[in-house]
């Protein structure tokens, strides 16, 4: 090995190390601090679960968390159902304007959420939808749909259309074909799409900030408000819970991907 290669290898390792550190260190520190009795991040850590206890007593944070969870689950369910159906339609049929429709899926992902949120607020008030739970779910579903459709479309590209033809030639009706042949193949992307939808909704700040009614807000909005009023380590506690849950979900999905995939 030449000295240059060795040098490059060292630089490469250093780069990866720094990358991982910047990604995960803040999270690890937050997790540790959520168990630190000192509200001012004093070291050494004095282990305690006070912040978790206080969090349980903080009705506002707990309410906001449950509200966010409710919206995210509803969004995931609705966006996954509609999005998967849309993907199947785009896969199966040729119709006028199909290309345009597919192209229209991409801009919503690129448009800043601030702009989408403002536009939604103006539009929802204009047509009388207003704000509140229904408006939040509607808005989040609209944001999440493109992700679901794009993830499913990618998976459907690997699906052989003859499989549907074969199933139909064997006497299966449209529903049987979908349920027994097509959906099993795209199951991994349906799950991935649902996770995306859940994440888009659960993480959503801007659109939620605009569409939530003042009394009842989502967790990201509540955290933002809490930080402005003065940071309390309860936020660390709630964030740690969310991170642990979402990591567990991701690991579970990764396993599912492995077993759901075919070759």
């Amino acid at each position: 090995m030449s000295p240059l290669t060795r040098l490059l290898e060292v630089v490469g390792r250093l780069f990866v190390g720094l990358l991982l550190a910047f990604l995960y260190l803040p999270i690890v520190i937050m997790g540790l601090m959520s168990f630190n009795a000192s509200p001012f991040y004093m070291l050494p850590i004095e282990w305690s679960t006070t912040w978790y206890v206080q969090l349980a007593g903080n009705a506002q944070l707990v309410d906001a968390s449950l509200y966010s969870l409710k919206i995210a689950l509803a969004t995931a369910l609705i966006a996954t159902t509609l999005g998967t159906a849309a993907s199947l339609a785009l896969f199966r049929y040729e119709f006028k304007g199909k290309k345009i429709l597919q192209a229209l899926l991409l801009p919503p992902i690129a448009i800043p959420w601030l702009i989408t949120g403002t536009a939604m607020l103006v539009f929802f008030f204009g047509v009388g939808i207003g704000r509140g739970l229904h408006a939040l779910i509607l808005g989040h579903v609209a944001l999440a749909l493109p992700y679901v459709i794009i993830v499913n479309n990618a998976r459907l590209k690997t699906f052989a259309p003859e499989l549907e033809e074969a199933a139909r030639s064997l006497g299966a009706n449209q529903w049987q074909v979908t349920r027994r042949v097509t959906l099993p193949w795209i199951a991994p992307s349906v799950v991935a799409g649902a996770l995306f939808a859940f994440a888009v909704s659960f993480d959503q700040f801007v659109v939620s900030y605009f569409l939530a009614t003042p009394g009842q807000t989502t967790l990201p909005v509540e955290i933002y408000a809490a930080i402005r009023k003065g940071f309390t380590p309860e936020i660390n506690a709630v964030s740690t819970i969310i991170i642990v849950l979402s990591m567990a979900l991701m690991l579970f999905t990764a396993r599912f991907y492995k077993f759901g995939g075919n070759d």
């Binding site: 003859e162 033809e165 074969a166 199933a167 030639s169 064997l170 006497g171 049987q176 193949w185």
Partner: protein, 352 residues
């Protein structure tokens, strides 16, 4: 089991006429090959019989029942795809059971039928395997079992052996034929492989540019084709062009070729052509008199292929192939003059 009747069938894709007024009958229990180059419409014809899409014009009847507006899933046909199209999320047993399941056949009856089909294709020990754990030939058998287990009225095969290597293809030809005989099902298969069509089928339909050019038993089409296209597409052919003169073909050098009677004969003065198969041409000895057609030529090349030798003879600037299972041919020398002899009854007039 049922016969299939196709009448005046047409189908276009945009401006491309994939099928143009095709009529053909498939008798009950027969084994039919649809043969043609790619783009000839053979696959379109098969897919229309299956019910993938509807014809622009014409009629299709299966077992006397008009089906051209019946959707695919209600036609009760068995279809084998070139890619086999086995369901990757199901094992061999479930793949074969699929058609019975969606029909609501009770589990126990379905299991019995599936086992019988597995036995028929000799795969009984593999029922729990997944498609990706099978070899090409095994997948082919599963696809076949899955298609016939539903007891379809017709079995449709789209280039079923196209994806197999040559040795396996020959085995599967024999196997497919055995299974078809055992089940006694009307079978239509699409192929571009003329040898496959000749060895397997009871009847062959040859298509070109969306039209049925010729149809008949393999031996008839091979020995006495009616059209130049069929003559050259199916097997090796020597074609002579000339002017018809009282049922004989006058070549450019004035030689008159005796020909067999047939619709391909034109009226005196009309241009036309005729066929003589390489294996029907003899190299005549020096004192070999005899009747029939005789042409003088010069050997240009000899091709030894084990059980077969082809000699290329130059006649008036045209290459004539002479094929024999005769190794004496090897003793002939390139450049030597020879007399070619072939009987008039094997010289077939062709429509161009």
């Amino acid at each position: 089991m049922a016969s299939v009747e196709v009448r005046n069938l047409s189908r276009s894709f945009g401006t491309f006429k994939a099928l143009d007024d095709v009529s053909i009958s498939f008798e009950d229990g027969g084994f039919y090959a649809l043969l043609g180059p790619s783009g000839s419409g053979k696959t379109t014809l098969l897919r229309l019989i299956a019910g993938f899409g509807y014809p622009d014009q014409g009629h299709i009847a299966i077992g006397g029942e008009s089906v051209e507006r019946v959707p695919l899933e209600k036609r009760n046909i068995g279809m084998v795809f070139q890619s086999y199209a086995l369901f990757p999320n199901m094992n061999v047993f479930d793949n074969i059971a699929f058609g019975l399941d969606v029909r609501g056949v009770p589990r126990e009856d379905a299991a019995r039928e599936v086992r019988r089909a597995l036995e028929l294709v000799q795969l009984s020990e593999l029922e729990t395997r997944r498609p990706h754990q099978l070899s090409g030939g095994q997948r082919q058998r599963v696809a076949l079992a899955r298609a016939i287990v539903i007891n379809p009225r017709v079995l449709l095969l789209d280039e079923p052996l196209g994806a197999l290597d040559k040795a396996l293809r020959l085995d599967m030809q024999v196997e497919l034929k055995r299974i078809q005989r055992e089940v006694g099902i009307t079978t239509i298969f699409v192929t571009h492989d003329q040898e496959e069509a000749l060895t397997m089928s009871d009847r062959i339909g040859i298509l070109r540019a969306g039209q049925l050019v010729e149809e008949g038993a393999p031996e008839d089409i091979y020995r006495r084709p009616k059209t130049r296209f069929a003559a050259t597409f199916l097997g090796e052919a020597n074609i002579f062009e000339g002017i018809w003169t009282d049922g004989r073909l006058r070549l450019a050098d004035g030689t008159l070729l005796e020909t067999a009677p047939g619709a391909g004969r034109g009226a005196t003065g009309e241009p036309g052509c005729c066929l003589i198969r390489p294996e029907q041409v003899r190299i005549a000895g020096e004192n070999d008199g005899g009747t029939g057609n005789r042409l003088e030529g010069r050997i240009t090349r000899r091709l030894f292929a084990g059980n077969w030798t082809t000699v290329f003879v130059d006649y008036q600037g045209k290459t004539i192939r002479v094929g024999q299972a005769n190794t004496d041919f090897l003793k002939l020398e390139d450049g030597s003059k020879v007399t070619l002899a072939f009987s008039g009854s094997n010289t077939i007039p062709l429509q161009s």
